[in-house]
């Protein structure tokens, strides 16, 4: 947003100050509704919830500042460590399985000479299904007694009913549900790769794998790195899948950080503790993003 604001400022530096002031007034005027909406529904709640992390409130009486008590209660909860571990596990699995799949699909689909449109629709379709509906549907697929997967595959897998299987099962669903949007972004990025590069490689006798490895992936680098970061941030906040499918079970094996926040706030009515964990999550994600962007700045720029 700041980038958008600054651009007219630099371009109009040479013009007279009166016109400048007029224009800045106009900018502020047109910006006002947006700022108001953001302030009311985004920034103000953010400030309030950051404050709430240091308070105890029942939402009736005035909130009381309790310094770091919410945080000390939080760190005393044995579930916190489990939730963090589970969330990292989900993120890792989603990276290993969920990250390459859209890249692969996009590359294959951009190579197709016919039927590309159909495949694009098919791949994007899961994104059009409301998340809760998709998750409920998969919950039925996974049913250990009557589920689609077990009857189609003719096996008796536990899917969600086992501490080791539950998390990979959630990742499978999340990958299916989320891949479509990412695929479209990759396909769009692929169209920007100059054809001459492929032609040159082809005339040098490069195989398809070499072309992908040496041309496609390097050309996609910027998009890949951005999508990786977005995916890490997104998967750290996984909620719908464990909330609807497993409620954190079996034996807390799918309790994620966001599910824990939900429980603190809405099941136990401890809003301060929920806010404290939310603030911690935001800080961790912020630091993670900063480190990531710093580390990858040189790669994506070159």
């Amino acid at each position: 947003m700041t980038a958008v604001l600054e651009r007219p400022a630099t371009s109009s530096r040479s013009s007279r100050s009166k016109a400048r002031r007029k224009r800045s007034f106009a900018t502020a005027f047109f910006l006002a509704p947006m700022v108001l909406v953001f302030a009311c529904f985004s920034w103000w709640p953010i400030i309030k919830s950051a404050l709430l992390a240091f308070q105890q409130t029942n939402l009736v009486d005035p909130a009381q500042f309790v310094a770091l008590e919410n945080f000390s209660n939080l760190f005393a909860d044995p579930l916190l460590g489990i939730a963090v571990r589970n969330t990292i596990w989900f993120t890792a699995l989603a990276l290993i399985f969920g990250f390459p799949v859209p890249v692969f699909l996009a590359v294959v689909m951009s190579e197709l000479r016919r039927g590309g449109g159909l495949f694009r629709v098919l791949v994007y379709l899961p994104v059009a299904v409301p998340p809760v509906v998709a998750v409920l549907l998969w919950k039925w697929f996974y049913n250990a007694d009557y589920g689609l997967f077990n009857s189609v595959l003719g096996v008796k897998l536990p899917w969600l009913q086992d501490t080791n299987w539950a998390m990979p099962s959630l990742v499978l669903e999340a990958t299916w549900a989320g891949a479509g949007g990412t695929v479209l972004i990759y396909i769009a990025a692929l169209t920007a790769v100059p054809n001459e590069l492929y032609e040159a490689a082809e005339s040098d006798g490069a195989s398809i794998w070499r072309r992908i490895w040496h041309i496609t992936l390097p050309q996609l680098r910027g998009v890949l790195l951005l999508m990786l970061l977005l995916q890490i941030i997104g998967t750290f906040q996984v909620f719908t899948e464990p909330f609807v499918m497993t409620d954190g079970g079996p034996e807390d094996s799918t309790v994620t950080v966001l599910l824990l926040i939900y429980r603190y706030a809405f099941v136990y009515g401890d809003y301060g503790m929920a806010a404290a964990l939310s603030v911690l999550l935001a800080v961790v994600l912020g630091v993670l993003s900063a480190v990531y962007l710093r580390a990858t700045r040189t790669w994506s720029a070159s």
């Binding site: 002031r21 044995p78 007694d145 501490t163 954190g248 079996p250």
Partner: protein
């Protein structure tokens, strides 16, 4: 120029903040209260009936103005609505919630208003207990009361060669029948709740049935009691049914709704539950009323059953005048059909006219002299197959009713969800070890809540 913009933005932010935090203020001569619980417009007869009571109440109490809403209590929106001042003056919560709400002071103390309630001193103390604070003060009035029992599929009983009119009366019989049903019909004979805290909730019920408690007083505080015999006995029973008898199926991780959906679809033959499940069974999951069988909870020596139901409570933001008006309305609308046969009969008829289950057996709020005629009136206009509830109705009156664990109930239930899940999904899970781990989770929470 950037400074101008920044100043403008800051000003707008302040403005927005003021707009966000603005409070609604109302005021005229009458005492205005909002009352939730109006049936939605899909239930035309019941809604018309509700509005008729509203009009009559306003006529009888000219200084009170009622604003009915069809909002239902939802734990997910409760906090936001309370904070925003949108919570109704009168709303109803399930019996699992008043203790936590009154501890957080999110519902009003109505002890002072109790003398305006007719038959206020005739209440069965067991029914008032769930909304009575540790200080003896009253924070809510019951509107429905049930005792947990055993729900069973009469058709599957029949198919397995069991007598649907003779449901099991001991847990050994439950286990035996579940095994027979699983073997004969291929349908899991027994289903157990295990998620969204219903696992802990029903393990509590099962513990009560075996004569135990989840928390016990030690000095002036409550401590964990579920590491003793009865809970272990309950878990061992589940473990044996799941792994030795293979009579519980492989699909677990279900909450009450999931389980009831499977039950209504004939995919589970027995589950623990109170008669109020019949409504969802029929209207939400399209179950066939004839297959629904309701038995009392089988009890071991010294056992009791868990009390359930709904409680009408008053917003903590209500003024004393609003509080008095609210209690008056609760008495007029919710309690009168419990001690006056005429409105009881009328309410039942209207529900039946909307094709809703009407006259499902409940626990009486008062002694036989007051409640007897009301129950007779409800039965006369009922549209549910009452004979399928017979074994429940004849037994439940003699049972002991036990309330939810008094301190941090939901936290305790959450920890026990994991225990139930362990026993149901992992063959080598040891109940005693799992309970020890749960006790380690719950003890610091109990300590913190009683500081």
């Amino acid at each position: 120029m950037k400074a101008t913009l920044a100043k403008g933005t800051a000003g707008l932010l302040l403005l927005a903040a003021a707009a966000c935090g603005a409070d609604a203020k109302s005021g005229d001569g009458k005492i205005e209260i909002t009352v939730s619980g109006m049936p939605p417009s899909t239930q035309a007869a019941s809604q018309k009936d509700f509005l008729k009571y509203v009009a009559e109440f306003e006529k009888a109490n000219p200084n009170i103005k009622l604003k009915p809403t069809d909002a239902q209590y939802d734990v997910k929106t409760f906090a936001a609505r309370l904070a925003a001042g949108q919570l109704e003056t009168v709303f109803r919560v399930p019996l699992t919630d008043p203790q936590a709400l009154l501890k957080r002071r999110q519902i009003a103390d109505i002890t002072g208003e109790m003398n305006s309630v007719q038959h206020g001193s005739d209440f069965d103390k067991r029914i008032l207990a769930p909304a009575t604070g540790p200080d003896g003060k009253i924070y809510g009035l019951p509107t429905e009361a049930y005792a947990a029992g055993l729900v069973y599929n009469r058709k599957l009983f029949d198919e397995a060669g069991l007598d649907p009119d003779k449901p099991p009366t001991t847990w050994d019989e439950v286990r035996k029948d579940a095994k027979i049903i699983a073997e004969k019909t291929g349908v899991p004979g027994f289903g157990m709740h295990s998620t969204t805290n219903t696992g802990g909730w029903m393990l509590t019920t099962l513990t009560y049935a075996f004569g135990g408690r989840m928390e016990k007083p030690e000095g002036d505080r409550q401590v964990v009691a579920f590491q003793e015999g009865p809970t272990l006995q309950a878990l061992s029973l589940l473990k044996a049914m799941r792994w030795e008898d293979d009579s519980m199926g492989a699909q677990q991780l279900r909450n009450q709704d999931d389980l009831l959906r499977d039950f209504a679809g004939g995919k589970v033959a027995m589950m623990m539950g109170a008669p109020n499940l019949f409504s969802s069974f029929k209207t939400k999951f399209g179950g066939d009323a004839e297959i629904y069988g309701q038995a009392a909870l089988p009890l071991g020596p010294g056992g009791g059953t868990l009390l359930g139901g709904t409680v009408a409570v008053v917003s903590p933001k209500a003024t004393p005048e609003q509080r008095a008006a609210a209690v008056k309305w609760i008495d007029y609308y919710y309690l009168r059909p419990k001690y006056d046969p005429a409105p009881a009969s009328e309410r039942t008829k209207k529900k039946a006219a909307d094709n809703l289950p009407a006259g499902v057996p409940q626990l009486p709020f008062y002694d036989e002299a007051i409640s007897g005629p009301v129950i007779q009136a409800e039965r006369a206009d009922s549209n549910v197959p009452l004979k399928n509830f017979d074994s429940y109705v004849t037994t439940v009156g003699k049972q002991e009713f036990v309330v939810e664990p008094p301190v941090a109930g939901q936290e305790l239930y959450a920890a026990l969800d994991s225990v139930v899940q362990a026993v149901l999904t992992r063959k080598d899970a040891d109940p005693a070890t799992e309970l020890k781990a749960a006790a380690e989770k719950v003890t610091p929470i109990l300590d913190r809540s009683q500081r």
